[in-house]
Symmetry: C3
Subunit: 384 residues, 3 copies
C-alpha cells in the first residue's frame, strides 16, 4: 500500500522553477573601415538574458520543460517540450521546441559557455520539431536525429505558402577515452553532424557579430536566393584535468536558385585552464561539457569543519579562442572575419560567475577591408 | 495552541504554479471558391497555447488566480482574479478578469474540450468585471451573473470616450439527473444564458474560423454600426457511461444604429464515446464537463500490484460534431457556414493528450458560394 | 555531519515565487480649460499592475530577485539583481536593475503606498547599476549610493552614441527617535538625497499626471535641451501610534545646453490615521514605511480562541495629501499644478486592500490657466 502510493506519486507531474540572468557591459573600439563597413558599435550596459524556466517529470518516464526568455520586452519561447524516455530502440523521443542536434558549443548550456557568446555563424538555434535521441549517462556515444521546421529565428516558426520548410538534422558523438576513475577529469570527444534544410521562402541569410552581443554584424551575406542548404559539422575536444581544448568546423553548401552551389564555412579552436584546479565536466548523456563547474572553494565565506569561517577564492579560469568565418563564395559576398579572444572567468560559486572577454576581430568585406573591431566585455551571471 | 497555529497558517496565501502547452500541426485543403472568399489557408506547425498559471487560497474563504498566456511573443492576461467564497445569499463574488458566464463549451477548460477549438462565434471570452456565482459541488443547479467591460478581445479593455462599455451577463444551469452512485457517469444537463452588451464605440464585428486556429475567417460581418446587442444561449447535455452528447444554440439580436434589429445565430451538436470505457466527468460547481479525464490505464507503463510493469492503452475517445453559423440578416452579410468534424482523442495520462481532428466546412458568402475548406489537424497537449 | 549538511544546504539557492495585482477603476471630471490643456481624460477599468516576482537567498550572504511586470502586453523588468551582504565597510553591494536611492515614497513598495500613485515628478524609478547600501534592522540610519545608467524609463536602458549616460545617486536617512518598546509605533525620520545625471542624448523631459494612472499629463516640459541635471531631495516623517505624517521636497537644477541653469521643484505633505488602531511600520533597514500593515482583525471571518467564528472589520485608514509641482523656470514652461487628495484604505487582510482616492487638481499651463481635473478612483489590491 505504501509502495502503491509511492508509485502513484511518481506518476504525477513535479515542477521545479528556476531562472537565470546575465547582466553585461560592452565597450567597443573600431577603426574607420569597421565603422564604414558594419556601422558604429554602441557601448552598452544591458541584460543579455533573463530567463524563467520550469520543468520536471511526469509518469516515471516523461519529462517536460517550459522555458521563456523575458529579456527584451516580449516573451520568447525557448525550450518547450515533452521528452519520452526509456523507449525501445530509439531510447528517447522529444516533441516541441528545442535545440536542433547540431554543434557542440550550440548544445552547451549558455551558463557553462567558456566565452560570453557562441562562435559559429551556422549554429541553428531552437526550432519546433520531433527528435529521437540517446540519453545514457554511462555510454561512450550519443546520437540525436530529428525533423524540424527550418526557418531561422528564435520563436517557433510556421510553414509558409504551403511550401515545405522542413529540416532533417542529426548528430553523432563518440568518446573514445573517458577517465572513469576521476569522474571525467580526462576525456577525449569526437563528433559529427549534418543538416539538410529546405527553405520555404527561397531566402537565406547568414550574418554574425564578433562574439559580442551588442556589436553590429560584421559579416552578412544579405538575402541570398536559395531553395535549400546543407550543413556539416565536425567536433573534437580533449580535457586533461584543469586543461581543455575544443574545436569545431562548420561548412554550408548553399543550393542557390541559379545553377550555382556555393560553399561557406567557419572554424574555431579554444583552450581553457583552471588556475584553481577545477575542471570542465563532460556530460555523457549530451556529448558536451554541460555539467556545472563547482569551485573547490566558493568565493566569500565557506563554513567547514576545520575553521568556523574560511575565505575562499572561488574558481578562476583563463581561456583563449581563435575563430574564422568565410562568407565569400561565388556570387555570395558576405565577408571574411578572423577573431582572437581572451577570457577570464571567475566562478564565485556554482550559481554565480563573472566573465571578462577581450576580443580583437579583423574583417574584410566588399564595403571596406581591414576593418578592426575590438570589444572589452563583462558579464555578471546568476542562475538558480 | 496547535489549533491556533493551524488556523493562522490557513490564513496565509498558498500558491501552486502550473502550466500547459498545446503544440499543433494544421493541414488545409480548399476549393477555388474558398480561396477567393476567405484567402489561402497556410499549413502550419505552431504552439497554440503556452500558459503559465498560478493560484491558491488565502484567508480560508478567498481564492486567487494569475494566469498568463505567453504563446505569441506578448503576454496576455487570462484569469486574474480574487474570488470571495462562503458569502451569504450570493455564495461567491469574483472580481478581476475571467470568463463571462455564457456558453457551456466556453466555460469548459481548454484542456478538456472534445475538439481542438470551440465552436460558437458568439462565445464572449474573458473580460474584466465582477460576478456573483454559486460554487456548490453537491447542488443540482449553478448560477453566475455579472457586470463586465464589454469590448471584444482577450486582454482587459477600457471604457472609451466616457461612453459606457458595460455588459450584463448571466447563466443558469439545472441538472435534473445526476447518478450519485457512479459519481456522475450518468448526467442530464440543461442551461440558459443571456447577455446585454452596450458598445462604447458603436462598432460590432462577428467572425469565425472553421474550428481550426490557423485557418482564415470564413464568415465575417465586417464592422457593423450598432449601439448594443443581446445574446441568448441554450444548452443541453446528456452523458451515460462512456457516451456523451452536448449541444448549444446561440442567438444575437443586434441593435443597429439605423432602425433595424437583426438576428444572427449559431448551433452545434456533438457526441463522443470512450472506446476504453472512461467517461467525461460533470462538474456540479461549474455546470460543465470540467473535470479531468483519468484513463483506466495510462499509456506506456503502469506499475500495479499485479505485475511489475504492465503496458496500458491510455484512453481512446471518438467524437463527431455538426455546427452551423448564420451571419446573414438584413443588411448584415457575414455569410453562412456548415461544418462536420470527426475527432480522435488519445489520453496518454491525465496530463497528456494527443488530438486528431478532421473538419469539412462549406461556406456561402457574398464573395463566393460553396467554398469548401477541409482541415486535418493534430495536437500534443500537456498540462501539469 | 548534520551541521555540515545544514551548512551545505544554506549555500544552495532557495526560491519563493509570489505575485501581486492591482485592479483599478478611474472616473474623471474636467473643466474646459483642463480638456484644452491636457486632453480628455477617459474613464477606465484596467489592471494597473500584474507582477510575477521571485527571489531568495544563495550562499548565506547573497540574495537575488527577478521581478517582472506583465500588465501591459509586454514584459517589463522590475527588480532583477544580486545583493551581496555582510561586506566589510560597505555592508551590502547590489548589482542589476532596481530603484535608485532617491525619494522616501519612491522607495516605499507600491503595496504599502498611502495613496494609489506616488506624487513627485522627480522620482527616478528603476535603473541598471551598482549600489552600496546599508541593511541593518537595528540601526537608526541608512545609506545608499550608486552609479546607474541614467536614461528615463522602466526598462534597462543603454548607453547611447558612446556618450556617457551615467548617474551618481545617494541617500542618507536618520531616525532620531524610534520607540523600541512598541516596535516602532513612534518614529521620527529625516532624510536627504542627491543625484547627478548626465544625459547622453542631451534631451530631458519631466511630466506628471495628477496622481491618477489613466489621467493625461497635466504638466509637461516637453523636450528640453540639456546636458545634465541635478536632483536634491529632503524627507521628513513622523508617526505616533495610528497617526502618521510624511513630506518630501524635490528640486531639480537643469544644466541646459545654452548658458541657462533653471530650477524646478515639487513638494507634498500627507497625513494618515488608522481608525481601527493599527499603525504604519517603519523599516529601519530601508528608511521607509515598508513593512506590511497587519489588521488587528481581518475582514470576513477569523477563528480565535474566544469564539469559533468572529467577524472582523479589517483595518480602516483615512488620509489627506497636498502636493504641488512647478515646472516653470526660465525658458522651461511645463506648467504649475496643485493637488488635494483624500483617501480611504480598507485592509481586508495583510494581503488584500481596497483603496478609494478622490483627487482635486488645479493646473496652469501656457495652453490654459485654471484647468481643473478631478478624479475618483478605486483599487482592489492583492499580493501574496
Amino acid at each position: 500500500s505504501e509502495a502503491k502510493a509511492a508509485a502513484k506519486a511518481a506518476l504525477k507531474p513535479n515542477n521545479k522553477i528556476s531562472g537565470r540572468f546575465f547582466l553585461d557591459a560592452y565597450n567597443y573600439d573600431q577603426n574607420v573601415a569597421s565603422v564604414a563597413s558594419a556601422g558604429d558599435a554602441q557601448n552598452t550596459v544591458q541584460f543579455r538574458t533573463v530567463w524563467l524556466t520550469m520543468g520536471g517529470d511526469v509518469l516515471e518516464n516523461t519529462s517536460y520543460r517550459i522555458w521563456v526568455d523575458v529579456t527584451g520586452g516580449d516573451v520568447k519561447l525557448l525550450d518547450v517540450y515533452l521528452d519520452f524516455a526509456e523507449l525501445p530502440v530509439l531510447q528517447n523521443v522529444r516533441i516541441g521546441n528545442f535545440f536542433e542536434p547540431f554543434g557542440m558549443e550550440q548544445l552547451t548550456p549558455n551558463i557553462h559557455l567558456t566565452f560570453m557568446e557562441r562562435s559559429s555563424v551556422f549554429n541553428l538555434g531552437r526550432h519546433t520539431g520531433i527528435m529521437a535521441h540517446s540519453d545514457d549517462e554511462n555510454a561512450n556515444w550519443t546520437y540525436g536525429a530529428g525533423v524540424f521546421v527550418s526557418e531561422h529565428g528564435n520563436a517557433p516558426i510556421e510553414f509558409q505558402d504551403d511550401n515545405d520548410a522542413a529540416a532533417l538534422t542529426g548528430r553523432l558523438t563518440w568518446c573514445p577515452w573517458y577517465d572513469e576513475a576521476t569522474a571525467g577529469r580526462g576525456v577525449f570527444h569526437l563528433g559529427a553532424a549534418y543538416s539538410y534544410r529546405v527553405l520555404a521562402d527561397d531566402n537565406l541569410r547568414f550574418r554574425n557579430r564578433p562574439e559580442s552581443f551588442a556589436a553590429p554584424f560584421v559579416v552578412d551575406t544579405g538575402t541570398v536566393g536559395a531553395s535549400s542548404y546543407q550543413l556539416v559539422g565536425l567536433e573534437a575536444a580533449y580535457a586533461y584535468g584543469p586543461w581543455m581544448v575544443q574545436s569545431e568546423y562548420h561548412g554550408a553548401t548553399v543550393n542557390e536558385l541559379g545553377p550555382a552551389n556555393d560553399y561557406l564555412d567557419s572554424f574555431y579552436i579554444q583552450t581553457s585552464y583552471f588556475l584553481t584546479g577545477e575542471n570542465r565536466y563532460y556530460n555523457r548523456r549530451s556529448g558536451t561539457f554541460a555539467n556545472a563547474i563547482v569551485p573547490i572553494e566558493n568565493f566569500f565565506r565557506v563554513r567547514t569543519g576545520d575553521c568556523d569561517i574560511c575565505t575562499g577564492l572561488g574558481a578562476w579560469e583563463v581561456a583563449y579562442r581563435y575563430a574564422t568565418t568565410d562568407l565569400n563564395a561565388g556570387s555570395i559576398t558576405g565577408g571574411l572575419t578572423d577573431l582572437h579572444a581572451v577570457g577570464l572567468n571567475w566562478y564565485l560559486s556554482p550559481y554565480t560567475r563573472a566573465m571578462f572577454d577581450y576580443i580583437h576581430s579583423e574583417t574584410d568585406t566588399l564595403a571596406a577591408n581591414d576593418g578592426v573591431l575590438n570589444a572589452l566585455q563583462m558579464r555578471l551571471q546568476y542562475n538558480f
